[in-house]
């Protein structure tokens, strides 16, 4: 049977799925992928990864996560833990490319809706924002994305990123201050 077949695992919380996967249940792993795939992809894209690289980076994120599944002890949310792995991958990719951000001009073609002018303006803002995010210090960027995209509490962010809730709040506001200038 395919590891991704079936949907009875849908209702179980992440922690139970992780325990099930540790016990050899591949369907639990497939459910974790289904549940967090889009968020990890958005996190990577928002951090500056090119759309064509996102799927490979997402795949690598889950591969590393399942290979070291015992590294997640449930202190931070599973998704926040995935984001830290994705952040490390993105950092490695950044270094591998000699310090160049992955954001490219072709990446502006993503939205394809009925209002080309409005789309262009929105895309311009989003592209400036993405460039701005890519230029932030890593901790500021990750705190900001975990908070603004995922709505995570400062406590959860602090555990996931190895800082304190107070420091996470400061990082968030520093990021907002820098990004405001790009979105005006």
């Amino acid at each position: 049977m395919s590891a991704t077949a079936g949907s009875e695992a849908d209702a179980r919380p992440d922690a139970e799925l992780v325990v099930a996967y540790r016990g050899g249940d591949e369907r639990a792993a497939a459910e974790l992928v289904r549940r967090h795939l889009a968020a990890v992809g958005r996190f990577l894209y928002s951090s500056g990864a090119g759309p064509s690289d996102v799927e490979d980076l997402v795949q690598e994120t889950f591969f590393r996560a399942f290979r070291r599944i015992d590294g997640w002890r449930g202190e931070a949310s599973f998704r926040s833990w995935l984001f830290t792995i994705a952040g490390n991958l993105h950092k490695d990719e950044y270094r591998r490319r000699g310090g160049r951000q992955v954001v490219s001009i072709e990446d502006r073609d993503l939205p394809d809706r009925a209002d080309p002018a409005g789309d262009f303006a929105a895309t311009e803002v989003q592209e400036r924002l993405r460039q701005g995010l890519a230029g932030l210090p890593r901790l500021q960027r990750e705190v900001f994305l975990l908070r603004a995209q995922e709505g995570r509490s400062y406590e959860d962010i602090a555990v996931a990123l190895g800082t304190t809730p107070g420091a996470a709040r400061v990082h968030y506001h520093h990021a907002v201050k820098r990004l405001k200038e790009l979105v005006r």
Binding site: A3, E26, A30, E55, L129, A148, H173
Partner: protein, 167 residues
């Protein structure tokens, strides 16, 4: 100058779908700091929403396939190491068995064979030459002509060496 952060903690929830209260909406309409922050948070929440090409089924199959392949490779490597270890142990055992000194009922030692080999060369010597050779052997440190004979020889081997020396 202090930046207003009155709505800051509410913004992620609003971006995720909750509604501003009337008071919050009124504040937002008149506060440039909160409006600018909200623009950033709302735009960030939309980032990647249109990202194409992520198929959970395909990603899961590929990830799990890689994990299975890696586990299989680890098992194969362990089996290989176990086999190599056993083979090395067997090789050491054989080397120890064949290289140990022979017992009284066993074959000859390397030293005895070496003694024999040198004695065969003596066959071509005439009596005066053998005499001279014996005299040269007498000039060893302790004067014992058998000093150079390895001490690992057992009694039977020593007898054979002496017989050979004596012709």
């Amino acid at each position: 100058m202090t930046v207003c952060e009155q709505l800051s903690d509410r913004m992620p929830a609003i971006a995720a779908g909750e509604q501003w209260t009337a008071a919050e909406a009124a504040h937002l309409a008149g506060c440039a700091d909160c409006a600018a922050e909200w623009a950033v948070v709302a735009a960030t929440h939309q980032l990647g929403a249109d990202l194409p090409g992520l198929n959970a089924h395909h990603v899961a199959e590929r990830v799990l396939g890689r994990l299975r392949a890696e586990r299989a490779a680890v098992r194969a490597r362990r089996r290989g190491l176990t086999f190599a270890g056993l083979a090395a142990a067997a090789a050491i055992a054989v080397a120890v068995w064949t290289g140990r000194p022979a017992g009284p009922a066993g074959g000859r030692t390397g030293a005895a064979a070496a003694a024999d080999l040198s004695l065969v060369e003596l066959d071509s010597l005439r009596a005066p030459e053998l005499e001279a050779l014996l005299h040269s052997m007498d000039r060893t440190d302790d004067g014992d002509p058998l000093h150079a004979v390895p001490s690992v020889l057992d009694d039977g081997e020593l007898d054979r060496v002496l017989e050979a020396l004596e012709g």
